[in-house]
Symmetry: C2
Subunit: 306 residues, 2 copies
Amino acid sequence: MSILVVGTIAYDSVQTPEGSNNHQLGGSAVYFSLSASYFSKVKMVGIVGTDFKKQDMDLLKSHGINTEGIEISDGKTFTWIGDYKKDINQAITIDTQLNVLNNFNPNIDSIQFNSNHLFLGNFHPTLQKKILNLMSNNLLFTALDTMNIWIENTKSELNQLIKNVDALIINENEVKTLTNEKNYYKAAMKILKLGPKIIVIKRGEYGATLFNENFIFSAPAFPIKRVVDPTGAGDSFAGGFMGYLDKCQEINEKTLKSATIIGSVMASFTVEQFGTKKLSLLSKKDIYERFKKFIDLTKFNENLKI
Amino acid sequence: MSILVVGTIAYDSVQTPEGSNNHQLGGSAVYFSLSASYFSKVKMVGIVGTDFKKQDMDLLKSHGINTEGIEISDGKTFTWIGDYKKDINQAITIDTQLNVLNNFNPNIDSIQFNSNHLFLGNFHPTLQKKILNLMSNNLLFTALDTMNIWIENTKSELNQLIKNVDALIINENEVKTLTNEKNYYKAAMKILKLGPKIIVIKRGEYGATLFNENFIFSAPAFPIKRVVDPTGAGDSFAGGFMGYLDKCQEINEKTLKSATIIGSVMASFTVEQFGTKKLSLLSKKDIYERFKKFIDLTKFNENLKI
């Protein structure tokens, strides 16, 4: 099987307490795809400018990612400048230049149609909906991410979209804004009532919690002494989560719990270096070893006497 | 075995998004003792005024808590007024009346001397140190809690005390202030370098993380839809943690991990009602059933193929 991802492809410039890095490869589709590529075939849909570097395209291809759905348009690639110096958990946006994203109107060709899993990365809900409709005949599993700008400006469109996906993968603050609930559990229940079978709330350095009708599962974040750059951690989580699920025979309680841990494993690598530096250079062994560390981090004796 | 706890005994008045409750029984020693009483023998050392209600003393006794170390002094019991309406995770203190706490100069008599485990609840470090010195010959395990007021005003005294305990059980924000570190992992490592073998960082609705030289263990908080009153959750955690350890034959990786979960179980009950209302009315069955829910919440398949 394979996953189609639509999202941003960007050049980011970030400042963090550990330093700064200019014009690094980023964007939701990039982090998602690199992360998912360790588990599954990924097809990317997105847009870049003519400034997009060959070495960056080659990096994606070297991960076996199908880049045929990446449109190269006249103009510059989307750029984002963010500052985490004050709070490593919350970037302050210094500047956003949409550039070629202004012209993005993706079409899905026959190659991409083969995908059964779809990730709608953070983007305008109208575009997310268009992709969902184009793909809808073949889909087994669709997950959606979003962010405050869409929650604030296109809420009814977004709510409509949420009704038609299987999973919402979203930051804690954002789901609280979206549902107007201060309690994350109540917020999750409101989302499940809208339609999705699954909601995963990403809680940054506190981990991730998955809710569905029948169970709740909580994964810690891996303790990291030196968080170099948190950019892309959420999309790396989503990539690991969906990449692992795509690899499984079925989506059930067992595989969803494992996927939440794998998502957390992948996010933990991303934050250890600027941009995609660490995420793009992993081995299966690295991933498996960190997975085993999650077992040590969370497993306790189940047979104790009280 | 048994645990000696020294800490505050209070009448609290709280306002939360779920309502308000005046003059409810509280204080670090009370929450700790009630929580630990489900697992172990507890001896309380503290001070109350002549206004302390017989029904509250009876409640403690009905839990098998040894109250002989509670001094009844002329004057009023310590009171605290707190407001969680703005942020359920962080009370705003409206008023604190130390009252009889001003005269507190505890003495440990021969009965209390029998305890091998000691919990130094949040209090002036000078008093905590006095108790530690009085008890030091018999102790197998000592844990300490503190809060911002002591970190800010009595830091060197507090650091001296930390060197002489086995475990520090502390809120995340407070350990960051204490160590001047924004990263909780680095903060934990700094504390371990000072002397304690164990640090547990309480992270409120995000759970608790235990660090020692050889391992890290992370427990989620139990997802609660309606957090009525978070007062005492941290002390209930400490009570469950130490009560369970006191019951165990030895303190090792296995029992420390279980104790962290039991602490989280007990804290999860406390927040469901005002004050000690829920915490004081539990059965072993309630505790065991919630423990099993923590297994469901955290356990995942360890044999997956990546």
